[in-house]
């Protein structure tokens, strides 16, 4: 039997591509060597959000409830149970994808997929013929040469999500999205958390204003940041780990190395079909074709932000391309979120990016400290910043640091994708009292018409 499509990788790119292909009438298989769901579901977005929420509840118990007049005599938490809950969440999703595959008649080929020819995928020695192949093998964490990962004491995000106990002192190399999220988890659970960041700001893709405000908020929560600092050596002793930097030395009992991720194409057999990665990434054209026309690539192994929803969108687009449709994906409208407390969410260009592109910009902002809903709930940290094109008033970027930013960003994505103007967004009725009113006010601020500031 010959498949129409074999998808290699079952992460948010691969499994979504497989489902869409099947929906469009193609005979589809999806190859996965590990549990279904890839990084996102097993060692990424999902488990980290589970732990982030659990730890946030712990933190609120001590820090927010008293101001609401709620006193808990002696709060405590059960770390094992917390981890167990996280595992249950993950497992339920694994089963969910398996069920979706079954429903859509997608064959799950268990094992390591590798390209044998442009139309043959070998899965642990068994060959499968197919018309098209979608590569969706994702990415893996980068490590430092002098700091071997054991996922116990020297961990990547994978190990950090499965620690056996809360470390006393956690050193985080790299204050990017993954670093500050997992650092937040352990800070809330009682660790002393220190970040060592090579660059001059945290989460470097964020807008300058947002990044600065965000750092201050995290510092207020007790996290320490050492920016412009380069880790040069590590000493892993029995009782502690010492990191040497170009500034000072740091000691901790667990080190989280979160300096970025790289495309994962190991054992994929790219050389057998003549696909040559460029700096690890697989080059593709505007229709996601690799140098072999019937082999497509999506997600973290291709250009663009390494985000689950970006991969999923690409998966859908490729499936529709295979069905002779002409779908599009608008890369400016891919939101990014940091699931700390408060959350950070952004879509479009930062003020600097817009200026670097030669655009004349207008900006507006509004702080949550004077937003009605934020006052009611006591979640006062953060702000909304709007960047618009000065000539056309069309929105270029919307940046939020504040409670529930990940949910508020949805309207911003819709606005950016549809080239809405700041004035149109400002004139859109928003329910009162809501956090999203801050988006409206920030848009009004672009036109110096803000009401509540």
């Amino acid at each position: 039997m010959k498949y129409d499509v074999i998808v290699i990788g079952s992460g948010p790119g691969g499994y979504v591509a497989a489902i869409r292909c099947a929906q469009l009438g193609m005979k589809t298989a999806c190859v996965e060597k590990g549990p279904l769901g890839g990084t996102c579901l097993n060692v990424g977005c999902i488990p980290s959000k589970a732990l982030l929420h659990s730890s946030e509840l712990v933190y609120k118990l001590d820090h927010h409830l008293p101001e609401h007049g709620i006193n808990i005599e002696k709060s405590s938490f059960d770390f094992d149970k917390m981890m167990g809950r996280k595992r249950d969440v993950v497992t339920s999703f694994n089963q969910g994808i398996a069920a979706l595959f079954k429903k859509n008649k997608i064959d799950h080929l268990q094992g390591t997929g590798s390209l044998k020819s442009p139309t043959t995928v070998s899965v642990d020695g068994t060959d499968y013929e197919t018309t098209h192949i979608i590569l969706a093998t994702g990415s893996e964490p980068i490590s430092l040469p002098f700091l071997p990962i054991d996922e116990k004491r020297v961990v990547t995000s994978t190990g950090a999500l499965s620690l056996e106990q809360v470390p006393k002192k956690l050193l985080v190399i790299g204050a990017g999205v993954i670093g500050v999220e997992l650092g937040s988890v352990y800070k809330r659970l009682g660790s002393e958390v220190t970040f060592i960041e090579f660059l001059p700001k945290i989460c470097p893709t964020l807008d300058e204003t947002i990044s600065k405000a965000f750092q201050k908020i995290l510092e207020k929560q007790g996290m320490t940041f050492h920016l412009n600092t380069k880790v040069t050596a590590a000493d892993i002793a029995q009782d502690k780990i010492t990191l040497t930097t170009d500034k000072e030395t740091f000691e901790g009992d667990v080190v989280l190395c979160s300096i970025g991720r790289r495309p994962y194409t190991q054992d994929l057999g790219l050389e057998n079909v003549g696909i040559t990665p460029n700096k690890g990434f697989i080059p593709i054209n505007g229709r996601f074709q690799t140098s072999v026309p019937n082999i497509y690539a999506i997600g973290d192994i291709v250009d663009g932000p390494m985000l689950a929803h970006k991969a999923s969108e690409e998966g859908v687009v490729v499936a529709e391309i295979l069905a002779n449709e002409n779908p599009t994906i608008d890369y400016i409208a891919i939101p990014s979120v940091v699931y700390t407390d408060p959350e950070v969410a952004a879509v479009g260009l930062t003020e600097k990016e817009a200026k670097d592109k030669g655009l004349e910009v207008k900006t507006g902002s509004f702080p949550f400290s004077i937003n009605s809903r934020a006052k009611c709930t006591g979640e006062l940290d953060g702000l909304v910043k709007i960047v618009a094109d000065a000539k056309t008033d069309i929105l270029l970027g919307i940046h939020i640091v504040g409670a529930h930013a990940s949910e508020i960003i949805a309207e911003a994505v819709l606005a950016i994708h549809n080239k809405v103007t700041a004035l149109e967004l400002a004139n859109t009725p928003h329910a009162h009292p809501t956090l999203s009113e801050a988006v409206k006010e920030a848009s009004l601020d672009v036109h110096k018409r803000v009401i509540h500031k």
């Binding site: 687009v317 295979l322 002409n326 036109h447």
Partner: protein, 381 residues
Amino acid sequence: MKMEIKVPEAGESVTEATVSQVLKETGSFVKTDDELIELETDKVNQPIYAPADGTLELTVKVDDVVKVGQVIGYVDTEGAAKQAPEAPSAAAPKEEEKAPTTSPEKAAIEGPSARVSIDEHLQKLETPAPAAPPTLTPAPVLPKTKIEEGTVTRRRMTRLRKTIAKRLVAAKNETAMLTTFNEVDMSEIMAIRSREQEGFVKRNGVKLGFMSFFVKAVVAALKEFPDVNSFIDGDEIATFQTYDVCIAVSTEKGLMVPVIRGCDEMSFGQIEQNIAGFATKAREGKISIDDMRGGSFTITNGGVFGSMLSTPILNPPQSAILGMHTIVKRPVVIGDKIEIRPIMYLALSYDHRIVDGREAIQFLVHMKNNLEEPTRMLIDL
């Protein structure tokens, strides 16, 4: 599977179209490439074809305005197997019906890019939105004469008519247009026509008309006065190196201006053949956008309807247009005697921003001389 029917690209400046005719009804069975509906765009009428065999579902009706890329209906190919008259109904096993209706083999390798980069998104930042908050002052409204209902009948402007209206007003508002006149004694051309007609028809299959003489005279004059063959592009004057002459033709649907390309290298016969070809296409409503793209100079002949004299209006971005008129026998002074001669008035409207009066007048005089003595054109005068 449902295949989308989309409004195709129809040229750079075409962004929307009006549904002018529905040729196949929703629910009917259609075959690949059947004409489904006819769209009327700014420039031409264009049929939309079925992308596949199947049952048609249209989501638009006559007079709906649609945009390029818009989905205007579907062809349900599921129905194809069941409804196609020639499909063997019983022979096909059940499973087959559920077989992938999209053939992945055929997956479009070529097609528009699906990946809209940030820079591409930004390039498409469209027409400026109101940057300032709306003011309360009402926009000035043109004074309207109150018209009693019942004293007029109304019909919708076609898209072609709207475009003509828009472009003509633009031509008037955005150029410094004026017209110079002259008259041509047509005796010599008429003599050649009656003398050589039979041989010409035999050789070329079309009649020797007046138009080929005028096209040739225009080319000769354009060569002499290249500024007339130019247009303004920003701060630059761009001069055509081609002699592509547009001929305005009146069709049932409105004015159309097909282009005869490379007139400098054409024989009289080839020019007449081209004109005859466009006349046929115009009658059948088949003049395409490609037929009308470009052109460096336009000739319009109001004479066919009896016009004695008129001031034609420019066809932007071109800088001049020649108006031909009806041939009338007039008393003219030749030497010191009054003679009866067939005379045509010529009008040349031009854009004074780029063409000076002296050149325009000399251009027309040059044409007059060549038309009165066509032999001059043989020796490149």
